[in-house]
């Protein structure tokens, strides 16, 4: 619950909150923040919270909604590396709080 509150303040503080991204309709998927993701597991990106500049930068690197990513490894407190479109990308602690993902069950 506190996460949701966080998100709200983040998007409100963003450069263009009049263009707030509306997330996918809530469904049965278990949506978590990327910072809590487990290394070795695959996730699908649900949405990226934040202004359009940060969205644009992430998008250009292949990080965008509906994209499947694998969490490679995590240091503590949030920073982690992910595999997306065949490359490894390091995400700092701030940004892992702004990406919502849901786990993919391969089975």
């Amino acid at each position: 619950m506190s996460d949701l509150k966080d998100n709200f303040t983040i998007s409100k503080a963003g450069p263009d909150n009049n263009l707030k991204v509306i997330s996918d309709k809530p469904d049965t998927r278990n949506v978590i923040l990327l910072k809590s993701a487990v290394p070795g597991k695959k996730y699908i990106i649900e949405r990226i919270i934040g202004g359009h500049v940060i969205n644009g930068r992430l998008n250009a690197m292949g990080i965008l909604p509906k994209e499947v990513i694998t969490v490679i490894f995590q240091t503590w407190g949030g920073p982690l590396t992910i595999a997306v479109k065949g490359v490894r990308i390091a995400l700092g602690r701030g940004i892992t709080h702004k990406i919502e993902v849901s786990e993919i069950n391969d089975g």
Partner: protein, 745 residues
């Protein structure tokens, strides 16, 4: 697919460029080409192959911070090639992207050469999809195609080329394979008068509908044949407006009156809202997804056989190097080893060079009769420039270390490791890379700050980069630490570097809290696959940077040395004083000859007279007077007028500090027994003064050239701020260290 009318593959671009030149000199047709590519795609290597230049290549983003251009003379054409900064997209989110896009749109190169990392087509072709939209003549260069082949994936280039609307050439940049093919294709594409089949990315019914509505709107209010708008078409402008591209909307705003601008902005806002309503995502995201969709589709169709790339080795290595406990200590250890190597191993060649210059000075003193010219050569140039050149081996080793870190791909990891710490000081890991480069030279470090997207991040990183001790300051530490802390010199120098880092951290916080408020940009960075650096590559980069150092010694430092020598030599002491010295020498010699004093007493008295005469000569000179004049300012720091003067000389370049001291002592030293700089320094100062002086040299702005770059990158106001605050800080820190130290010593 591959053009085969030139199957000449020579050693490097330079050789065949020269050969071609001799045949066709005089009537060359010119083509302009621009190299574009994502970071880490090997673009700079290709540029070097094409132009024969030796640009620096690094396995991390932001190496190409400036537009570099070169020429290739090929088959009667003079192809001028511009290497643009690496970018992931053309949406202008960072300074580099803006540079690249502006060049492509406003300078309109004849041909765009898009370098693509073939081992990672999907992500790299994203940029391609945006280049395709520009509608320019485009060539795709699939670099590192050997890695793709090794992975077992097979791509039908012909099909892919058809789908992307651009020819494809396979190259292996590191082995210089395919260089001539690129040049042939550039000429062929340039001469092909048939307009290329325009490939249009389909953004789906709804978006396409809005694009055409927007295009109609734009063509009603704008003239797309005019000089400014004519650079891009209305479809492209419409897409950019939907993507909320700030630059394009500002540019269009310039062409409109206030009312139309507001109307257009309303129209765009409404459209964006409408699309957001349909897709539950802003149009920018939908457009990006469509571009990736376009690429995926093309790749699917063109892929004959696919094999997942396994990055297990890289990942395993990362598990150790990025480990939450070991990552930072490993990084610290690596840096410590590099410094130890530079100072311990580099000490031998440095000593040999020192001996060489000493021999040269003695030789010239022996050949030439005593004259002003001899003094200029020996005291001015050899002592001045030699004093700087002797440190070349140490600096070269340091550069080898940094080059290896860059080429292996470790540098990006270092940035990641440092992100946590950098975050605490209000910056992010990316700021760490310019700071690391700053250990080599502050000038490229300032330029590398362009990779930082946020202006506040950039300004803070530039201001604190001064405290990253550059190679030019190293000779000062080596001299003073070597003389006063001989056994612990390595550790003392290390401590200076650490203090620099601490200052950087402190001022990052202060600047963030005062002048550049706001949050640090989040850290997002590609971690390139680890590569084994080639000896050739590392040698090139090391040489490239070391050569800059040597060149500086040969130009700026020679000039400053001569100026300093003039200031130190004129005005000369009066004849009466010279005669006085001679008569005193004669008197001592006489008493020695009469056996009134022992040989030891004679030597002591003689050198006493000569030193006194030397000092008098110096203090009489213009430089001596200047030094005396400013001495009071530096006195509280423990500096005498010589150190004060050396610090002022250091504004031209910190290497000058040592060369100035060399000149001072060479002139004041007795004529036939030129005291070595080290001995002279050890006589005049103590460890406390030495440390205070090293700190002062560390903290004030690096050099005049760096200030020029600072002004270019950050503006005049920031440059003056930089000068003021570093001088004040340097003075205060040295003052505290000296005054507090005095209590204990």
């Amino acid at each position: 697919m591959m053009d085969s009318d030139s199957d000449v593959l020579l050693e490097n671009g330079e050789t065949f460029a020269k050969r071609e030149f001799s045949n066709t000199a005089g009537k060359l047709r010119t083509i302009t080409a621009a190299l574009v590519g994502s970071p880490n795609c090997g673009k700079t290597t290709i540029f070097n192959n094409l132009t024969g230049a030796r640009q620096h290549v690094g396995n991390y983003p932001g190496v190409t911070v400036e537009q570099k251009s070169g020429h290739a003379i090929f088959k009667g054409y003079d192809i001028s090639i511009i290497d643009l900064p690496g970018t992931y997209s053309l949406t202008a989110f960072s300074a580099e992207e803006a540079v690249t896009r502006k060049h492509l749109i406003y300078s309109r190169p004849d041909v765009i050469i898009n370098i693509v990392d073939a081992s990672n087509l999907e992500r790299n072709l994203y940029l391609t999809s945006q280049l395709v939209e520009l509608g320019s003549r485009l060539i795709l260069v699939f670099n590192m195609s050997d890695i793709l082949n090794k992975s077992g994936t097979l791509i039908n280039n012909e099909v892919l080329s058809e789908l992307l609307g651009a020819p494809i050439i396979n190259t292996v940049g590191s082995k210089n394979i395919g260089t001539a093919d690129i040049l042939s294709k550039v000429i062929e594409t340039f001469e092909n008068t048939k307009s290329t089949k325009a490939v249009r990315i389909n953004y789906g019914e709804e978006i396409e509908h809005e694009i055409s509505r927007m295009s109609d709107y734009l063509s009603r209010i704008l003239d797309f044949t005019a000089s400014f708008t004519g650079k891009y078409d209305k479809r492209w402008a419409s897409i950019k407006l939907l993507e909320q591209d700030k630059e394009v909307s500002e540019e269009i705003g310039l062409l409109l009156d206030k009312k139309s601008t507001i109307l257009l902005s309303d129209f765009v806002k409404k459209t964006i809202k409408h699309i957001t309503g349909i897709f539950a995502a802003r149009p920018a995201t939908v457009i990006v997804q469509s571009r990736y969709g376009f690429i995926n589709g093309a790749l699917k169709e063109a892929t004959i056989k696919k094999n997942e790339m396994v990055l297990s080795f890289s990942d395993k290595l990362d598990k150790v190097l990025l480990n939450r406990f070991f990552g930072l200590p490993i990084f610290g250890l690596i840096m410590w080893i590099i410094f130890q190597l530079a100072f311990k191993v580099g000490d031998y060649p440095t000593r040999w060079l020192g001996l060489g210059f000493e021999k040269l000075a003695v030789l010239i003193s022996g050949i030439m009769p005593e004259s002003l010219l001899r003094s200029l050569l020996v005291d001015g140039i050899i002592r001045g420039v030699g004093g700087v050149l002797v440190f070349t081996p140490k600096i070269a080793i340091l550069f080898i270390g940094i080059s290896i870190l860059e080429d292996t791909g470790y540098m990006a990891r270092a940035a990641f490791i440092m992100d946590r710490i950098m975050h605490k000081i209000g910056l992010h890991g990316k700021s760490f890379i310019p700071m690391l480069i700053g250990f080599g030279c502050t000038i490229p470090a300032y330029m590398c700050c362009r990779t930082l997207e946020d202006k506040n991040d950039r300004m803070i990183t530039m201001h604190i980069n001064t405290f990253m001790s550059c190679g030019g300051r190293l000779p000062i530490y080596i001299l003073f630490a070597g003389v006063f802390f001989s056994k612990n010199a390595g550790s003392v120098i290390f401590s200076i570097y650490v203090i620099g880092i601490v200052m950087a951290v402190l001022f990052a916080k202060v600047l963030r809290a005062t002048r550049f408020k706001g949050e640090a940009e989040p850290f997002v960075m590609e971690l390139p696959v680890y590569r084994l650096p080639t000896a050739k590559g590392v040698a090139f980069h090391m040489w490239d940077r070391t050569w800059q150092y040597i060149k500086k010694a040969g130009t700026v430092i020679v000039a400053v040395s001569v100026i300093m020598w003039i200031l130190f030599t004129f005005p000369r002491v009066g004849l009466a004083q010279q005669a006085d010295t001679s008569s005193r020498v004669a008197a001592v010699t006489q008493s020695y000859n009469k056996n009134e004093i022992s040989s030891q007493q004679f030597k002591d008295q003689l050198s006493g007279i000569q030193t006194a005469a030397g000092s008098a000569k110096l203090e009489y000179s213009a430089a001596g007077r200047i030094g005396k004049f400013i001495e009071p300012v530096f006195k509280p720091l423990g500096f005498d007028w010589k150190l004060a003067l050396a610090s002022i000389g250091g504004i031209a370049g910190k290497e000058v500090v040592v060369s100035t001291l060399g000149t001072i002592y060479s002139i004041s030293g007795s004529e036939n027994n030129s005291a070595e700089l080290k001995n002279a320094v050890s006589n005049d100062y103590n460890p406390l003064t030495a440390y205070s002086f090293m700190l002062f040299s560390l903290l004030y702005f690096p050099c005049i050239a760096s200030l020029a770059v600072f002004k270019k990158e950050a503006g005049t106001r920031e440059m003056f701020f930089q000068i003021g605050f570093t001088l004040l800080l340097a003075w205060s820190v040295s003052f505290i260290v000296f005054q507090v130290g005095r209590i204990f010593i």
